[in-house]
């Protein structure tokens, strides 16, 4: 058993080294902008850059719309399948796994060909349409996580009894979903939302191929043209991902059982 413990520590130490050295190196590199001393100049430059603010704002907005769209699509479907159409569950689960099978670049390629300016549904003909298409694309990327989060949340409540109780009190479907079901799965929905946010905020492929002024393409552009700013941006992005995951963890403590990210 003694030697087992030694190996466990060794493996853990090697793993920790592999994961922390790049983070330390990135922090160090990001502070090297001023010659001969450490400074936060790179962060100042990045945060003060008007394009950073614009693209970051754009991506935050896209993430918010993605979350709203995802909730509108997933919550009624997951609820309805639990309540009335359990026979559809395998089909829906299969569909929600598709975005993990079909690479994002293929999905967006399909959009570009199907919804171009000459097509019956010319999303790409206008700016608003293209923005909408980006949000739609992000919603497909987030679909697997959103669906599982919501479905796990629904599992912890008694959907049927709640629904019947609400119906007896005279509630319509809209009221049932927005005022009975949604508040009960709110924590699960929020976990899905933060995960969606983490995925969407720095997404590169779709935003770049749809020519949107999003954060991902901005990151790539800075990476190709600057030396120290990319390291600062990497640290900022890591902090954002960390923040989202911590919020999910904190939220899961308030959940009935576990509304954590299912895997």
């Amino acid at each position: 058993m003694k030697s087992g413990k030694f190996w466990a520590w060794l493996v853990f130490a090697l793993g920790a080294a592999y994961f922390f050295i790049p983070l330390i190196a990135t922090v160090e590199f990001s502070m090297r902008m001023r010659r001969g001393e450490y400074s936060f100049d790179a962060y100042k430059v990045v945060l003060g850059d008007a394009r950073f603010q614009a693209t970051f704002g754009y991506s935050v907005l896209a993430a918010v719309f993605t979350i709203i769209l995802g909730v509108l699509i997933v919550v009624p479907a997951a609820y309805w399948i639990r309540l009335r159409l359990p026979q559809l569950r395998p089909i829906v689960e299969f569909i929600t796994l598709l975005p993990l099978v079909i690479p994002a670049i293929v999905i967006v390629f399909g959009y570009i060909r199907m919804y171009g300016s000459n097509s019956p549904l010319p999303f790409l003909a206008t700016d608003t349409g293209t923005n909408a298409l980006l949000v739609i694309g992000y919603a497909t990327l987030a679909l697997p996580y959103m669906y599982r989060a919501v479905d796990t949340g629904l599992r912890t409540i008694d959907v049927r009894t709640l629904t019947e109780a609400a119906q007896i009190l005279g509630a319509g479907w809209g009221t049932i979903i927005t005022r009975v079901i949604l508040p009960n799965v709110l924590i699960a929905v929020l976990s899905g939302a933060f995960l969606t946010f983490a995925i969407v905020i720095g997404e590169f492929t779709m935003a770049s191929l749809l020519n949107r002024p999003a954060f991902g393409p901005y990151l790539q552009n800075i990476g190709a043209n600057r030396a120290y700013e990319p390291a600062a941006l990497a640290i900022i992005a890591f902090a954002i991902t960390w923040g989202c995951m911590s919020l999910i963890q904190i939220l899961s403590r308030f959940a009935p059982k576990s509304a954590n990210r299912p895997n």
């Binding site: 466990a8 793993g15 309540l83 099978v101």
Partner: protein, 304 residues
Amino acid sequence: MTDISLSDHAVTGKTAPPAEARSMRLPTQWLGVAPFFIFAIMFLILPTLYLMLGAFQNDAGEFTLENIAALAQPSIVAAYWISIKISLASSLIGAFAGLAIAIAIVRGGLPDWIRSATLTFSGVASNFAGVPLAFAFLATLGRLGLATVILNTVFGLNIYAHGFNILSFWGLTLTYVYFQIPLMVVIIVPAIDGLKKEWGEAAATLGATMSQYWRMVVIPVIWPSFLGTVILLFANAFGAIATAYALTGSSLNIVPILLYAQIRGDVLHNAHLGYAIAFGMIVITGLANVFYIWFRTRSERWLK
């Protein structure tokens, strides 16, 4: 015929009263799932089908196998090959390293806080991919990266003189491993948790040594979910583009980067060849997932 199917429906609908409710029910029955299905068909299934059909058509819209045959040209085969190699290498390294870490934190007798800290960190690191990850590795193992410089000045080892380059097969693989290991840890820890204590005790009672217990109990039980996860990691790496693109530009010609260039500027001078490349990617990740589902159902037999 219609009569039978209708009464069938009434039976499965359980509470549905006869006659009038039947005709009323059907539309509302589907209303709740309609947005989901319309969305999935319009923005997930149809665009994919469109590309897959396009892969078998020429410019005039006639059926042809030429596009698929054109995938055999050396530059495209090379792109697929290097993509497969990187995905395979990063998924195998990620899987074994992830498994070792998972076993260490679950079974290694380490303090509890290490387990929860590792799991939290894995959740973060498995989502820390894309462009920023490339920046982090450039700052670490790039020509001026911290690790490169320290290895050179402290240990006198100039890795770039020894043929290492972050913009290469191994550079990209080492970078991908950064999100592959945590993904493996997140998925495999529940499987290792699922190993029942009684099995170890039973094995010990029957006189099994530690190595026999591992060889004959632990490994066979974990094996299917392990292989399943390897495949998931493979598909995960195969479709990824942002990290590679930010790291290497287009100097490393993996399939997603080739497709990216094709979408942007028709570098292959044949629109339908782009469809064929996309089709090939779907076939590879699709096959991988068929295996994944197969292994998954096998592993669920044990882990209940």
